[in-house]
Amino acid sequence: MWWILGLVLLIMKLIIVISVLFGFAAYMVLVERKLLGRFQIRYGPNRVGPFGLLQPLADGIKLIIKEDFVPRTADRLVFLTAPAVVAAVPLVITAVIPFSDDLTIGGTRIPMVITDLNIGMLFVLALASLAVYGIALGGWASNSKYSLLGAIRGSAQLISYELSMGLSLVPVVMLAGSFSLVDIVNAQERLPFILVQPVSFVIFLISAMAESNRIPFDLPESENELIGGFHTEYSGMRFGLFFVGEYVSMIVLGALTAVFFLGGWRGPILPSLFWFLLKTMLIPLFFIWTRATLPRLRYDQLMHLGWKFLLPVALVNIVVTGGVMLFMGW
């Protein structure tokens, strides 16, 4: 009897998390277009529904009814599956993110996380390292020069920034003493890690921006030189998957930042779910603001920043953290 109840609960959690995530991603597109409009002193989309609130719906319909075109010289199977990889990876990452305090219904505690893995953070890093395949294979399978260039840039960029991202999280694991995301949130009961580890936070933020291919790190796409890069040849809903995948991964990175550095769902007075959503939204909004502010980096600048600045700083940070912990007898 109990396992059926557990299964029902699990499926309910999955449905809620996935639909909320997609809903947020759709509206994140609208928020971005609105904010970008304001940053550039124009209105942004305001024709579909009041304040343009139905714009995501219109965009979705447009993408679905467009022709799904596959180039004749493309590697068909790889071409067709690559967008799914980009969209699926951030969705699977949400499985280990605790999004609220435990819920108690009739004396039973229901943990508000889909699964609490004891290697949670490694699970996140493993999946994050797979996201690059969507970009690399999509670009390669298109069999077009622009796409291939985008794919090559993408794989070089992601593999460089993955390293500093992983290293920036090592001090968090050292302080929490666990890979489990639930334990990491619990370890921040008194003090969120952003106050203890500001350097880690900044490195993680920059790497996250690079991982999500956003300006100033959007070299794999760069519209004005590669006409869209790895997704040049994509159309219709497959392009939509790349697009939605980017926004979902932005939100998931926001949630991860909240869990690793901002204390997760912990906060005073208001319900914990509210705090979690608030903290999660901070990072995507920051990314949008950055997009309106900064120009794109040059390719060699991007590589130098990753390998010659972020990586050494992350390594020194680990050593310093270890030294301080040893000295204080943590």
Binding site: L122, S129, W140
Partner: protein, 173 residues
């Protein structure tokens, strides 16, 4: 336990098929994709045997880093298509080596008493694994890291050496 055994054999079939496909593909990118599949199945195998840490590392390092580098090199250098087929003569030497290893493996399986006992799954927490590794095998770990460091320094030297003359003039202008 029976479901565990069935899963094990399914995974073994997946690993062997994927690896066999990987070494026979003419399209290099497809070969890499099959190899990634085999790494995934291996990761699940590790998880099944109670080593989630190793499973995660298998995906992060092999599927997530090394294979991406392979893909990167293939895409920069040849774009995936190779015209050269596998000549029969190329196969002879690997075939001999493979046959010898299979014979030795069968011999070991029948002779060694250790292979009679089935591998029992045991849950290992990452913290226990780390403590065991760094208290029992700290020297090999350090030696491996030193080796990797030497390789890194060598790669850096080779990269610098080649780029020195043409790049300098380009930047100078």
């Amino acid at each position: 336990m029976i479901s565990l055994r069935i899963t094990f054999y399914i995974l073994s079939v997946v690993i062997l098929t994927a690896t066999a496909m990987a070494i026979t593909r003419k399209n290099l990118v497809h070969a890499v994709l099959y190899l990634i599949q085999s790494f995934f199945a291996t990761a699940i195998l590790f998880y099944l045997l109670g080593a989630p840490l190793l499973a995660a590392l298998e995906v992060i390092i092999y599927a997530g880093a090394i294979m991406v580098l392979f893909l990167f090199i293939i895409m920069t250098l040849i774009g995936g298509e190779t015209q050269a087929g596998h000549g029969r003569r190329q196969w002879i030497f690997p075939a001999i080596l493979g046959t010898v290893s299979i014979l030795v493996a069968f011999f070991l399986i029948y002779e060694s008493p250790a292979t009679q006992a089935g591998l029992e799954p045991a849950m290992v927490r990452p913290i226990v694994f780390g403590q065991y590794l760094f208290s029992t095998y700290w020297l090999p770990v350090e030696i491996v890291s030193l080796l990797l460091f030497v390789a890194l320094a060598g790669a850096l030297y080779l990269g610098r050496h080649k780029a020195a003359s043409p790049a300098e003039t380009e930047v100078g202008q």
